[in-house]
Amino acid sequence: MATSSNNSPALLAIAEVSKSFGPVAVLRSVSLQVAKGEVVTIIGPSGSGKTTLLRCVNFLESYDSGSIRIDGKEVGYRDSETRQRRSERDLAAMRAETGMVFQSFNLFPHLTAAGNIMLGLTKVRGKSNAEARSIAEHWLGRVGLAHKADSLPAELSGGQQQRVGIARAVAMEPKILLLDEITSALDPELVGEVLAVVKSLAEDGMTMVMVTHEMAFARDASSRIVFMADGGISAVGPPKEVLAAETTNERLRTFLARFRASHF
């Protein structure tokens, strides 16, 4: 698995991104590079800006300054200098290149599992219904839900809904997959089935940036872990380094200690 490589250009390049909600700075000059095939996990206390950063990557949130590029292309703005916002049509096309899985699943309630996956394939990718259906069935098979293709979200468990959510995102063949606390809304016994799917995608070489509180999973599945605090990146490195108990980073040590206390 690739680590932060300096010779190959980064697939995702976040450079000095800042954002404030009124007087509150939620992102303070965040810079992060993610290479193709990397799995980068963002951890940190709530309110540290993890989710906001993730939502800036596919421009669900705008940011005040800095630049975010995917494959060298500026995401939300036509130009990082003039900061002229892209047209809605352009933004839609850019967003189709990133996949996102949400904490609260956000499946379309009126569409079946297959229908949820097919919507983007037919409307955005321009595939025929038959083609989209077969892609949907393929991915539902991958997440272990081949038999639920025609079930509505309301008929699925949380874990099943989230697996459909993952299938919906990856079926679009995104360059990068964003996972926003995707197991936080699940009952503990359903977490495993969802993480297993994420792990198999990582093994396939899918580039992923995920925000999670599953430390054990972060340690096992990530190429690098980013620790965010107060809107900035406080530590970044391989899991063993960042999660080491003897870290000299005061904030990280407090976070990990508090985390261990509440989770074990």
Partner: protein, 221 residues
């Protein structure tokens, strides 16, 4: 009291009531259809518009909701042709009035439905690369429809009953038919009993049909 019910005269003129009921339904269906278009367009416009447009749309809604329908009917039928040189029949005039009237109520229903669509669903639509128009058609409207169906049913039934107001400008709908029979036979109790029953049965039939639609949609929650 010496009043004996005698329905014979009612049955003899029943075509006035039956024809009236059909016209009532026709007035309601056409007006509601136009009202739905007005309501949808203005509601979608409202939720994405700036202050000026919002104020204008809210003004229209508030105006209609605070003026009695019967007054609007008079205004459109007698008032408008006096001011501008435009001739139209009583039924046409009423359909115009009820359309504008139902539009105002439906804007409110649709607007609150659109605003109730969870933000997460819109985010999901954005995330897979849908354009704003595609998000509206494939994500926002279907969810809005399911949220608003119960309120819609009530509004539709209410608008159907409002067609009785057309009798004041001599549109021969159900209430007008009842008045005609009353004036010509003086069987006031019988004719209004029968007419009431006809409104009731039709209203219930409509409600039943709409509940079936609701259930179909609710199954798809």
């Amino acid at each position: 009291m010496g009043y004996t019910l005698n329905f014979n005269l009612i049955w003899r003129h029943f075509d006035k009531l039956w024809g009236g009921l059909l016209l009532s339904l026709e007035l309601a269906v056409i007006s509601i259809a136009i009202g739905i278009v007005i309501g949808l367009v203005l509601a979608v416009w409202y939720v994405s518009a700036g202050r000026v447009v919002r104020t204008i749309i809210a003004g229209y809604v508030e105006f209609i909701r605070n003026v009695p329908l019967i007054l609007l009917v008079y205004l459109v039928f007698y008032g408008v042709p006096t001011v501008i040189d435009l001739a139209y029949s009583a039924p046409t005039s009423f359909v115009v009035t009820l359309s504008v009237y139902s539009g105002a109520y439906l804007v409110e229903v649709f607007r609150s439905g659109l605003e109730a669509v969870p933000r997460g669903q819109l985010d999901a639509g954005k995330a897979i690369g849908l354009t704003p128009w595609q998000r509206l058609i494939h994500v926002r409207l279907p969810t809005m429809l399911r949220i608003t169906l119960p309120a819609l049913s009530n509004t539709f039934i209410s608008l159907f009953k409002d067609t009785s107001i057309a009798s004041v400008i001599s549109v021969p709908e159900l209430t007008y038919g009842a008045q005609w029979i009353n004036f010509n036979t003086f069987r006031i109790v019988e004719v209004y009993l029968v007419t009431t029953a006809m409104y009731l049965v039709t209203g219930y039939a409509l409600l039943f049909a709409l509940r079936l639609v609701e259930r179909r949609f609710r199954a798809a929650r």
